[in-house]
Amino acid sequence: MRRRSAWLYAAALCAYAFLYVPLAIVVLYSFNDSRLNAEWVGFTLAWYKTLFADDQMITAAGNSLLIGIVASFVSTVLGTLAGVAMHRYRLRVLPILIVAPIAIPEILTGVSLLIFFVMLNFTLGLGSVALAHIAFCIGFVAIVVRARLAGMDETLTEAARDCGATPSQAFRRVTLPLIMPGVVAGALMAFTLSIDDFVITFFTAGAGTVTLPLQIYSMIKISVTPEVNAVSTLLMLLTLLLIVVAAKISPTLLRTAREP
């Protein structure tokens, strides 16, 4: 028994190390006083200064934030409605239609959206990226919201009606406040997914538009400078923060939604 748990412990340790050591190295070398990610020279914040002086980087970050906010807001509204509909009408196809985009490989989503936009003569840019992000975020929000609804006592809605509330009043005053943790968690989730997304963004951004992940990619094509480490560290920090907040608000979140 003891022996076995020791093995398990060691295996888990290895797995976590495999996941987190590379990340730790990225973070560490963002503070390294050298152009090379090779040996530790000394502590510096210079790369963060370079980062904040880099206009291209700032523009990319601004685009990412803008898309993230718009995409998470719109997908939260639509995803909440979809979650409510899935819960209320219990149709079999609805959950599949909404959740399928989560399971479909991102590259397929990216390519098909690109073809779609081109077919419609839709100019590729911030707008098309935002639309694409909205499309793949809705499913995540819907799942989280539906999980929250499933845990809600159905008689509460009836009680609201019984107390004289119309269906829409009952939704606003009783259902919505009770599923709010799910909605907020879904929104944070959507924001994180949008900020981090590379593949779908790559296909739908067109020529001139750059987001943070795209910018990082184009920089490492040349060479991995510690500036990339610095921006990655910040991005990681933001993502981590949002996940922690989301998990705090909705403890079931990490169990009901796929890891990004």
Binding site: D153, A159, D162
Partner: protein, 361 residues
């Protein structure tokens, strides 16, 4: 005109008929109880009155107006749910204020109304508490206050005491009776607990498999059950069925296969029946080593097979030579006494013709 008129209402779920051609009328200010075993359709009927469900056939009229097209929020009836269904994100005050807000009662008037309703259920001072900070009994009171605050025409209570312990249930029952008297609102009360129904109600509708078996005052339901089901469901009852062997004046003799001829008094007007059941409550049966001289109209010998000590009384199950099982009950009036007879004792049971009740088939 009755306050609520249920006319030939039927509700089916697939092949299953949950409510089968039920008609009943509930008067203003009445404490009306729907009593029946689990699954007999009580909640289904209540939900149709509240408007959460619609009849497949028949009509429900309130003050003479058909409710078919009135959604729940526009029906002047309020439900007290078995699970209380308090809004967990609102305080006690918020919960009670909710129906007032929905009814657009001006804010200036609300405060007094809320206080009044909380006073009715004796919960003053709990305004700022959240539902999870209350005990089961207190939550129940908030649910009732929330239902009463807009002065509806009728309150629907679905097993409101089922989740509470026995002592609290008794206390709250008494409070409910007083409250109902005080506010004068008609209560439609659902329960499967016959003693609760007998204690609380002005009238009881005993339901079985989606039908109303009997609708009467509690004493009539208990004393003169119209069907064998009612007799058995309302308190324990010995039921002896068989063909009618003889009818003389007001006494009928029923030939009970495993017991023998049982004589029972019948009301004068009752039609001649070829078959029937004699219902007799265990407490009406006298049990002794031998029946007293010359008296009773019915007496049967038997052997004590089981006994069940219940504190104030002991229930004896006696089997007769023919194989009939008869329940008789004796009060343990003397303190410390647990029983008069032992298992295996030979006893004689007796009762007068007036003790039984004849249910014609």
């Amino acid at each position: 005109m009755a306050l609520l008129d249920i006319q030939r209402v039927t509700r089916r779920f697939g092949d299953f008929t949950a409510i089968d051609d039920v008609s009943l009328a509930i008067e203003a200010g009445e404490f009306f109880t729907l009593l029946g075993p689990s699954g007999c359709g009580k909640t289904t009927l209540l939900r149709m009155i509240a408007g959460f469900d619609l009849p497949d056939a028949g009509r429900i009229l309130l003050n003479g107006k058909d409710l078919a097209d009135t959604p729940p929020e526009r029906r002047p009836v309020r439900t007290v749910f078995q699970s209380y269904a308090l809004f967990p994100h609102m305080t006690v005050e918020g919960n009670v204020a909710f129906p007032l807000e929905m009814a657009r009662v001006p804010a200036s008037e609300r405060k007094a109304r809320i206080e009044g309703a909380l006073e009715d259920v004796r919960l003053q001072g709990f305004n700022k508490r959240y539902p999870h900070e209350l005990s089961g009994g207190q939550r129940q009171r908030v649910a009732i206050a929330r239902a009463l605050v807009t002065h509806p025409a009728m309150l629907l209570l679905d097993e409101p005491l089922a989740a509470l312990d026995a002592k609290l249930r008794e206390d709250l029952s008494i409070e409910l009776i007083n409250l109902q008297k005080e506010v004068g609102i008609a209560f439609v009360y659902v329960t499967h607990d016959q003693s609760e129904a007998l204690a609380l109600s002005h009238r009881i509708a005993v339901m079985n498999r989606g039908r109303v078996e009997q609708l009467d005052e509690p004493s009539k339901i208990y004393g003169f059950p119209r069907t064998a089901f009612v007799a058995d469901f309302i308190g324990h009852c010995n039921l002896f069925g068989g063909p009618v062997a003889n009818r003389a004046n007001d006494v009928v003799t029923v030939d009970v296969a495993d017991l023998g001829p049982v004589r029972v008094g019948v009301a004068a007007g009752i039609a001649n029946a070829a078959k029937g059941t004699v219902a007799i409550r265990p407490e009406k049966i006298r049990i002794a080593a031998s029946a007293p001289e010359g008296t009773p109209d019915n007496h049967f010998r038997g052997t004590v097979e089981d006994l069940l000590y219940m504190g104030d009384v002991t229930v004896y199950r006696v089997s007769t030579p023919g194989g009939a099982k008869v329940e008789a009950l004796l009060a343990n009036s003397q303190s410390g006494r647990a029983k008069f007879f032992e298992v295996g004792d030979a006893v004689e049971m007796s009762w007068p013709v007036g003790a039984g009740h004849f249910i014609p088939e």
